[in-house]
């Protein structure tokens, strides 16, 4: 499970704040591969009106849910309680009927962050979520993962353009597979 540093989250939110001059234009946000939900919580705490959706595999979502359940009420993490966490595999299960609800919501998101860092996951999102969606900003992880020219071509055909400013962030990894 990964999480972003506070400076990276600041840079990401700064980009969103400067891109969306009016808060009306930014209503839905999805964090794919949410991991430890620092970024999702940060977006929710800075943009309280935004519907934040965190998507990850069932195990991390279960851990997050358990953690949220035991978290004391009325603390500064209250933003996290209003984030919706959904578990499904964006590579294999994105078109499953059970996840249609989430998929429809993803298509209504103006901003999607996808820091999973797997080419197949990127492809699944580009092919299944982005077409005819309301997405205006999508972020991919490019450290150690090269965006294939085909994906780049698909994105440009959907009128996406590479942002002139690249965010140099840091993702800390926490290994979940230990017993």
């Amino acid at each position: 499970m990964h999480y972003v540093s506070i400076s990276t989250a600041t840079k990401i939110i700064y980009l969103l704040r400067t891109h969306f001059t009016y808060f009306h234009d930014f209503l839905n946000y999805a964090d794919l591969g949410v991991g430890i939900p620092y970024l999702a919580g940060a977006v929710k705490s800075y943009f309280p009106h935004v519907n934040v959706l965190g998507v990850d595999l069932p195990d991390p979502i279960q851990i997050i849910s358990e953690k949220l359940e035991v978290m004391p009420k009325h603390n500064k993490c209250a933003a996290l309680t209003s984030v919706v966490f959904s578990s499904f595999n964006v590579i294999s299960d994105v078109l499953r009927k059970d996840n249609l609800n989430v998929l429809n919501h993803l298509r209504n998101c103006q901003v999607i962050t996808n820091f999973i860092g797997i080419v197949e996951a990127n492809e699944s999102i580009i092919k299944n979520v982005l077409p005819n969606s309301l997405c205006r900003i999508i972020m991919f992880r490019v450290t150690n993962v090269e965006i294939p020219s085909l994906h780049h071509d698909w994105l440009t055909r959907m009128k996406f353009a590479l942002h002139p400013k690249r965010i140099k962030g840091s993702l800390a990894l926490q290994v979940i597979s230990c017993s």
């Binding site: 999480y3 506070i6 700064y14 620092y38 009106h49 519907n51 993490c77 400013k165 979940i176």
Partner: protein, 477 residues
């Protein structure tokens, strides 16, 4: 209730009343020959109504031209026709709506007073039925009184906007109810620029209480919208069936006349409706109705206010000693100070002078925020004016128009960046305190904790047995 200034739609435990919303028309669709002849005559005379000609008005489906003569005009020209919004929801709907025949550019204008007919006899505990829908009542908090929007003597609304509908999330409301403390009158004000021919809407109630019990006569599609906007209504309607409900139901079914409805019967009908709308509540991931346009604007206003405050803090703490002579200090410091001031000016000017936040004037909390910005703006007005007139400032503005501010100001002095960092830092520190970074470790720790308890328990048992054995040996010895 959604009227923050104090005026509100009738509210109580059972019944809520207000001007009509997608309900059956109460105005008889008269084809009165005299009225028509008058209109024809006026068309022949080339008469206009507001900014629209009578011929243009006739293009509106279901227009009630006779009401133009019946309802006294207050300030602006309005008319009543079939609601376009209602037709969006139910294609065949004949529900009436209020339309403007005039261009009203400035937001916040008083459109019509609604406190024309006070009704002291209105009983809030009376049951809503198909015959008695109680749709035209508005409660004024200040005067503690109900006002009837329906003029029984004329058989039509007391004012045109009595026919204005609640958009129910389909579109944004363009009016709001407010109490004018100066004149001590309750009226409807526009929150947006109104064009001729535009339908007028206002949100009756932010909590959804107005709609409670109205499922008995509303169209199912309209009720779906109600439930989508106010999901709590659906939950409130769910209740366990009691034994006495069956007896009441049997009485109702057995009775020949379905009239004389009792409160129990109404609850029973709600129960039936809750099954119909179950699919609606399952679908959305988020209750979108939670955030209205005003809420979103308020979020932005708070963000702007935070940035202005951050600017003041930086100027006071970081550059307090340089403020008098910032022009003579190094260029980088001068640029930073000018950048902060220009940013603050842009933000405060947007809040104070522009009409972007005009929709928020009805919200007392937001009004407080706007006033706070105004006060800050006023207290720094001299500084803003002095700096903004200086040649350095003008040069700086020319410079930032060609470059991005990112390259000019370090992150530490960028108000947005600083504000974001301050806002999310609280979350970060709290999450760190709760050891969110250590999700897996916490689980392991819990398991370890259990192991430790078990181990400690075993050690105690062994120790006790050893101790017994030792005692035995000592005794034996």
């Amino acid at each position: 209730m959604n009227v923050d200034t104090g005026a509100s739609v009738a509210s109580s435990t059972n019944n809520y009343s207000c001007p009509s919303a997608f309900t059956a028309s109460v105005i008889p669709n008269t084809d009165d020959e005299n009225t028509l002849s008058e209109i024809v005559q006026s068309v022949l005379n080339g008469a206009v109504y507001g900014d629209l000609s009578i011929a243009a008005l006739k293009q509106f489906p279901g227009i009630k031209l006779e009401l133009i003569n019946q309802i006294p005009k207050q300030k602006y020209c309005f008319f009543v026709a079939t609601s376009t919004l209602a037709r969006k929801i139910v294609a065949q709907s004949e529900e009436l709506g209020a339309f403007s025949a005039e261009l009203i550019i400035e937001p916040g204008c008083l459109l019509e007073y609604v406190d024309l007919i006070p009704d002291r006899s209105f009983n809030i505990d009376s049951v809503i039925t198909s015959e008695n829908k109680q749709e035209f009542f508005i409660y004024c908090n200040q005067r503690k009184m109900y006002y009837n929007g329906f003029d029984k003597s004329n058989g039509c609304g007391a004012y045109f906007l009595a026919y204005a509908n609640d958009p129910l999330g389909v579109t944004e409301p363009n009016m709001y109810l407010s109490y004018d403390a100066t004149n001590q009158r309750l009226g409807l004000y526009n929150s947006k620029c109104i064009r001729p021919g535009m339908e007028l809407f206002w949100e009756y109630d932010s909590s959804g209480k107005y709609w409670q019990g109205r499922d008995i006569y509303l169209h199912s599609e309209v009720w779906k919208r109600v439930v989508m906007k106010y999901p709590t209504l659906n939950r409130k309607n769910r209740r366990r069936i009691r034994d006495d409900d069956d007896t009441v139901e049997s009485q109702v079914i057995g009775s020949i006349e379905p009239s004389n409805p009792s409160p129990v019967k109404r609850r029973r009908l709600q129960l039936v409706c809750s099954n119909k709308t179950a699919e609606v509540t399952q679908a959305p991931l988020f209750a979108r109705s939670k955030f209205t346009t005003k809420d979103i604007l308020e979020c932005q206003l708070q963000s702007d206010l935070r940035e202005i405050k951050t600017g003041i803090l930086i100027l006071q703490k970081g550059f307090g000693s340089f403020m008098e002579s910032y022009q003579t200090i190094s260029a980088s410091i001068c640029d930073t100070v000018l950048n902060i001031i220009s940013h603050m000016y842009k933000r405060s000017n947007a809040v104070v002078n522009e009409s972007f936040y005009a929709d928020l004037v009805s919200s007392s909390r937001a009004l407080g925020l706007i006033n706070e910005v105004s006060n800050i703006y006023r207290s720094f007005d001299d500084m803003f004016s002095t700096v903004r007139r200086s040649s350095q400032y003008l040069d700086f503005i020319a410079k930032i128009s060609s470059k991005t501010t990112d390259t000019l100001t370090p992150d530490t002095y960028d108000l947005i960046s600083k504000d974001i960092l301050t806002t999310i830092k609280r979350l970060w520190s709290e999450m760190d305190t709760l050891r969110w970074k250590d999700l897996v470790a916490v689980d392991r720790e819990n398991k370890g904790y259990l192991k430790n308890i078990i181990f400690f328990y075993i050690v105690i048992i062994i120790f006790c047995r050893t101790h017994d054995a030792l005692c035995f040996h000592i005794n034996g010895y």
